[in-house]
Symmetry: C3
Subunit: 138 residues, 3 copies
């Protein structure tokens, strides 16, 4: 049996980054696990989980602008466009990044580097309710 | 000891997507694990494992067409071309996506979202035999 | 409790690939685990961990040249440029690839495919000291 499982519900205001490092730390503390692994899984294909720099918000702005150019909204090349001009690019962004992560636990805490934050990256333009499943194993 | 290990052999007909969600569910059911994690690992560097939308096949078609433009076959910029024009782009596609995934198990089943399917994405043009190692832990 | 934990310190000479497969094998052998999983985590957001072809070094050269064109150093589109022209592209490369990997253990060894090697991919131009946390579970 895992030492702890939890479900996080995140209401995103639309495209952009939402840090979840603290919510994950809370689950780890709750688990009482000192050394182990914390697995995080996003139940969606039009958003991502990622670890990136948590200091300068310009990093996230540049990531958003980079990926928007790489997989532009409303590209006429997309066949799948019924759900809006931001839907197919959202699937592409999801595939180019991650929808699940495993992070080590040391001394009862997520062993993230000093500059690492864990983010939910919403790729759809309109607000969405996102579900994340967390599993702590020792 | 893991609760269950299994090896899946997939014969791909060449470039494209092959869903393996059901084969993975079978391994999970076989394991009798109610709550845990299922790890899936691809032993190759010219194909990928990914989670993407399982409803409209146009999504997969658009993913294929997006990545074909991003890392085109036979690009004269590639130095590594001995094994054919689709070999170096296959390695690039593999690096930009994933070759391993961990998926939570809840209620004795893979806890995938409604629209999530797990796929082997073959990047080589000709048929290949691909090996996937599955590990279930509780 | 995990069967084994370890920390690898890698001094990179600057941008490029550094294979860590053997160091990981050593941790697995040390753990005495016959069947299980080995998790590898990089504590940084401007380098990556990846599995790619370990035979022809041209593959790594072509990967480097591909990603350098995709996210060029010093692109005037970047807002985050205080830490040098290679800093924002390093974060982009990190997000497009992986900063953590899980690899199955079979017969007391990492069950990598014949052509798979595990690499630390340094994205910064100058030398860096990188820390990798390894967790072996059975």
């Amino acid at each position: 049996m895992p030492s702890e499982i939890a479900t996080l519900e995140v209401a995103t205001p639309g495209r952009g980054f939402h840090e979840i490092s603290q919510e994950l730390q809370n689950v780890v503390v709750q688990s009482d696990v000192s050394v182990g692994l914390c697995h995080v899984f996003l139940r969606h294909t039009s958003a991502s989980l990622l670890i990136t720099e948590n200091a300068d918000p310009d990093v996230r702005r540049d990531l958003e602008s980079f990926i928007s150019k790489l997989a532009p909204d409303g590209d006429p090349a997309y066949t799948h466009s019924m759900e809006g001009p931001d839907d197919m690019p959202a699937h592409i962004r999801s595939v180019l990044t991650c929808s699940e992560l495993t992070i080590p636990i040391r001394n009862g805490r997520l062993a993230l580097g000093t500059w690492q934050g864990v983010y939910l990256w919403e790729h759809r333009v309109r607000p969405h309710r996102r579900r994340i499943d967390v599993t702590v194993i020792a």
